[in-house]
Symmetry: C2
């Protein structure tokens, strides 16, 4: 009834299009499944960490060749820095003591990149010599602290609300270089979600509006 | 050819036996599968813990009714004690500071039940007033300690080589009752095995044969 070309070409196109669409859908389904199935990261770091050069990681290459006197290579500190620096959107920090200059530079770098950084810390330790808290505040990072007699003794970080970094390690050079310490890298929701909820609970509780240093 | 009873009975028995055997094998397979499939325990405890009566848990019911003045009920400390007291064969302890009398009693109870307890601790903290280390040694529990300038700052326990208990919590009453702390209960092999290896590494390193307090 139709001329030959008109009758056959659209059907060939439609068939080809349907085949291509089917292949695309199949590929997308496989990709989604693979993504769902990607095993959660489960990693342990033990300290003390041997001294290694972290300048390149921190985007501080300096004049080439690198002038850092420390040996290059992998180390627990280097791996901790890499996990932290993978943050793209948010970083929650809940740290008893924070004086490591390298970890401080990593947090400032993330803040400059536009990652939303929030920091909870302990009032007794935040003003000690060498503490990073003042520098981070000066850089514009939001910090809240306790006003309790007990210590805010947590030592955890949450990257992009998906990866928990927690353990015995205070973020100090003493702990990183001299102590026996552990850090767990965790993506299982059974751990990440309670820690996120704990962070938000303490964040609200330590809201400066609740401070009672100056009774009315 | 055979008399009726002789010809039929053994075949009936054999058929019944085969059916029974088949059912037993099926049940065993199902049980093994269920055992394999039991999801690893993943639990988080946050402190401070409200005061609760732990006497019953510690096998100290005393004269009925219980004379403990604390309220009964669930608490992070109660759950930590229950996990510890589930040990049947072995308990590795790697603890910076250990002064909680309740946790000390739990460890002594396990030792009396025949669980093999080994304890690694920090030399600077083990002799402080209130430390449990002396009592545990007197009870016959093996203890080894560092002789380093850095701290042995781990705070973990491994139950029956299968369950890791780790976090920010030092085993002190101050930490349990007053601090913000976390404890993870973990059964994933990716965490348990490196911690076991770390324990064995430190256990060998802290062997008293290696002490150099008294140079030759």
């Amino acid at each position: 009834m139709w001329p030959g070309r008109l009758a056959t070409l659209p059907w060939r196109w439609a068939g080809g299009m349907a085949l291509a669409l089917g292949l695309v859908l199949l590929a997308a389904r496989g990709w989604r499944r693979r993504r769902r199935r990607r095993a959660p990261r489960r990693e342990v770091l033990f300290f003390p960490s041997p001294l290694t050069c972290t300048a390149a990681l921190l985007g501080e290459p300096g004049p080439a060749p690198c002038l850092c006197p420390l040996p290059p290579g992998d180390s627990p500190l280097g791996r901790l820095l890499r996990r932290l620096l993978s943050a793209r959107r948010s970083l929650e920090l809940c740290l008893f003591a924070f004086s490591s200059p390298q970890l401080g530079r990593a947090v400032q770098l993330l803040h400059r990149r536009g990652v939303r950084v929030r920091l909870l810390t302990d009032a007794d330790y935040m003003a000690l010599p060498g503490s990073q808290i003042g520098r981070l505040r000066q850089a514009g990072i939001q910090v809240r602290h306790d006003q309790e007699s007990g210590y805010m003794h947590h030592k955890f970080a949450i990257v992009d609300k998906k990866m928990l970094i927690t353990g015995s390690l205070n973020w100090t050079t003493q702990a990183i270089q001299n102590n026996r310490e552990n850090v767990l890298i965790v993506e299982d929701a059974e751990y990440v979600e309670p820690f996120l909820a704990e962070f938000e609970r303490i964040w609200e509780e330590y809201n400066p509006a609740n401070y009672i240093f100056f009774p009315k």
